[in-house]
């Protein structure tokens, strides 16, 4: 039996519900729970800690059924986004309060408090009231309070989401250090993929109170399973059909706009535009993508390509990468310290603007580049661009 086992948990709390959530964690695991807002992640945490009684299902911790135990008997701690430090106690008292139920000896309590305060870098703040602390300091204090009791399980409910990026990074480092020291198993609800990358060894994606996919971050990000997960994770998803196998590579035919929605559009167009349109349709053939994953010929599949795995080029370059797709830049936006470039692909009549738009079934591709590359390539909306990526990075998802 696993260290933590949540078995087909059902719960309905005014608008939010869990419908048969299953979750497992080994001792020492760091599990990130993610999914769209309102998907029941926080509710799951509050059920695990015992604030809500599930309608159906069970929770086992260390082989013991804790489903019906009150929260004070579970030895599970929680850190909320809004820290919940007791305002009538100073930081020291907040942390010591957590220990008082466990330890009687004052000296021992003090040394435990000082130890965790040292690890999290709040030793200088112990005699401050929570209202005088900054956001990051409050979260460190809250984390210290939750960890000092050495809980069997630590629950983090978006603890960093109210912090700025720099503080988040510092907090992650502090958290990592503290987790190593206290050897705690963690369930961490987050919307921030950086949290998942830098902290978690397992990730669980939840939607509408249901687990959609789980696994180690690497495989979930590289090979997101249902389309929803792929879309939620921000990866590119292209739908296509397996045409042939070429050695170890699978050749996929990605539907271009010519095959589906353009004819409908033609009916709406003026007669004299018809010829242009037709020409455009002939040019916007479907295109091929090579994938290193195996599939059966004729199979309908989706492929996922991570935006950071796409290289952008001004012209068709010869390289070891098997895939080169031409497109037009449709959007450039800042994404933290990088630039997100959106492009339309599959329309070989590139530059013939006015005809192609995303409604006509043209696939979109997102790529992430540095601001310097963006400048060097002289990227601009409407400009022609080539997306280059390896066959190994075009992963088939079913």
């Amino acid at each position: 039996m696993n260290f933590l086992e949540v078995n087909s948990l059902h719960l309905d709390v005014g608008g939010f519900e869990l419908t048969g959530v299953n979750l497992e964690a080994e001792k020492g695991d760091y599990v990130a729970l993610t999914g769209p807002s309102g998907s029941g992640k926080s509710l799951l945490l509050e059920t695990v800690i015992g604030f809500y009684a599930p309608k159906k299902g069970s929770i086992f911790l260390e082989g013991r059924d804790i489903t019906a135990l009150p929260p004070d008997k579970r030895q599970i701690s929680i850190v909320y986004q809004d820290h919940m430090l007791f305002p009538h106690m100073d930081v020291f008292e907040n942390i010591a309060y957590a220990l008082r139920k466990k330890l009687r000896d004052k000296k021992q309590i003090e040394s435990e408090v000082r130890q965790i305060a040292g690890i999290l870098g709040i030793d200088g703040l112990l005699h401050r009231k929570p209202t005088t602390l900054s956001g990051g300091e409050k979260q460190r204090a809250a984390l210290a309070r939750s960890l000092v009791v050495r809980p069997k399980l630590l629950l983090l409910d978006e603890p960093f989401s109210a912090l700025d990026i720099r503080n988040r990074e510092k907090m992650r480092e502090a958290l990592k250090k503290a987790i190593r020291e206290y050897r705690t198993t963690v369930l961490h609800v987050t919307h921030d993929f950086d949290d998942i990358w830098s902290l978690a060894n397992r990730v669980v994606i939840i939607r509408n109170g249901e687990v959609m996919q789980e696994g180690d971050p690497e495989s979930v990000f590289r090979r997101p399973s249902p389309d929803f997960v792929a879309d939620f994770l921000g990866t590119n998803v292209l739908k296509g059909k397996v045409r042939a196998l070429e050695g170890k590579l699978t050749v996929l035919e990605i539907r271009g706009p010519g095959q589906n929605q353009i004819p409908n559009k033609i009916q709406k167009q003026n007669q004299n535009q018809n010829r242009d349109q037709k020409k455009n349709r002939d040019q916007s053939q479907s295109f091929e993508i090579y994938s290193a994953d195996s599939a059966e010929p004729g199979e309908e599949v989706s492929i996922s390509i991570r935006p950071e795995e796409i290289i952008l080029a001004r012209g068709a370059v010869e390289s070891s990468a098997r895939n080169t797709v031409k497109g037009i830049v449709t959007g450039i936006s800042k994404k933290e310290h990088l630039v997100l470039v959106e492009m339309e692909i599959g329309n070989s009549a590139a530059g013939n603007s006015g005809q192609g738009n995303s409604e006509s079934g043209i696939s979109e591709l997102k790529a992430v580049v540095t601001p310097t590359s963006c400048e060097l390539l002289d990227l601009g909306i409407g400009k022609e661009i080539y997306a280059v990526f390896k066959a190994a990075n075009a992963r088939i998802i079913r």
Binding site: F51, P70, P71, D72, M84, Y97, L99, R145, V149, P151
Partner: protein, 297 residues
């Protein structure tokens, strides 16, 4: 007004000049909308006029009460045996009622705020009733309940007599102030995020320990404010006290009863003095309430 109307440019529509002269219907300056452009609205003038007139009347009434007696008259009325008795009994009964009210309304408000239970909305409705319920009727109902009808004979075997006794004053004050106290404390508890309690529970503290260590200290300023307002309500309670406790001279005579009795004898000085006392208490209570309700202690 038409004579000052002219075309205003964006520039001329700012600054001092603007406020004095602008009569444009379409002026977009904030100060203009608030202060100038609606200057001649009859509706605005009427509402402001009414608010001033009646506040002034109220002020005049309160002021008269304070100024009508000479200090020497006030002092002699204050030092009279009847007034001293009345003050002492008032403070004593109101303190006792406040303690009981707080002791009962804190658990009631907490249950209403945190737990769901069958009959919760019924409890809420019944607690809301006295807000619109005439005090005299409440007194009558209490008299029937504690009198010969229902609880009376039972309590009498225990040696407890509620009607026409000092205990009756406390009982009447309790039922007058209890629903208000529950309201104030309820909103205090509602303002405390239950997650504070959940965090405390997760460290191994039981429900009551958490309530004592976390909820009560966090609610203390709200509790203090509600105790003050409860005390003021208790000391000023009249109708129910008169019916249940009888309002007899130097026996169940609290400050409002003193006012009432002396007015009927035509003894204005005593009546006014008790009025001044009651008003001061109310004034202090409201000041304290405003200071601490929702604030920090």
């Amino acid at each position: 007004m038409q004579s000052v109307r002219k075309i205003w440019t964006k520039e001329s529509c700012t600054g001092k000049n603007h406020e004095k002269n602008c009569v444009r219907d379409s002026c977009i300056s904030n100060s203009c909308i608030r202060k100038t452009c609606v200057r001649n609205s009859w509706f605005r003038n009427a509402t402001i006029g009414i608010s001033f007139f009646f506040t002034f009347l109220l002020f005049l009434a309160v002021g008269t009460l304070l100024l009508v007696l000479k200090p020497s008259e006030l002092l002699s009325a204050l030092m009279s045996e009847e007034m001293l008795y009345s003050m002492e009994l008032s403070v004593l009964t109101a303190s006792l009622s406040t303690l009981t009210v707080m002791g009962c309304s804190i658990p009631t408000a907490y249950a209403l705020s945190r737990f769901s239970f069958p009959g919760k909305s019924l409890v809420k409705t019944i607690l809301g009733l006295p807000m619109a319920f005439p005090e005299l009727v409440l007194g009558l109902a209490l008299l029937l309940l504690f009198g010969q009808g229902f609880l009376g004979p039972f309590l009498e075997t225990l040696g407890i007599k509620v009607p026409f006794s000092k205990l009756g004053i406390v009982v009447a004050q309790f039922f007058i102030a209890f629903p208000y106290a529950v309201r104030v404390i309820y909103s205090t508890f509602e303002d405390i995020n239950p997650r504070y309690e959940q965090v405390s529970r997760s460290f191994g503290y039981g429900e009551f320990e958490t309530f004592r260590n976390v909820t009560l200290p966090m609610a203390r300023s709200g509790l203090f404010a509600s105790a003050v307002i409860t005390f003021a309500r208790c000391i000023g309670a009249f109708g129910a006290v008169l019916i249940l406790a009888g309002g007899s001279y130097m026996h169940t005579e609290v400050l409002p009863v003193t006012l009432y009795l002396n007015i009927s004898y035509g003894n204005l000085e005593m009546a006014i003095t008790s009025g001044v006392l009651l008003m001061l208490i109310a004034f202090l209570a409201i000041l304290t309430f405003e200071r601490f309700e929702g604030g920090s202690l």
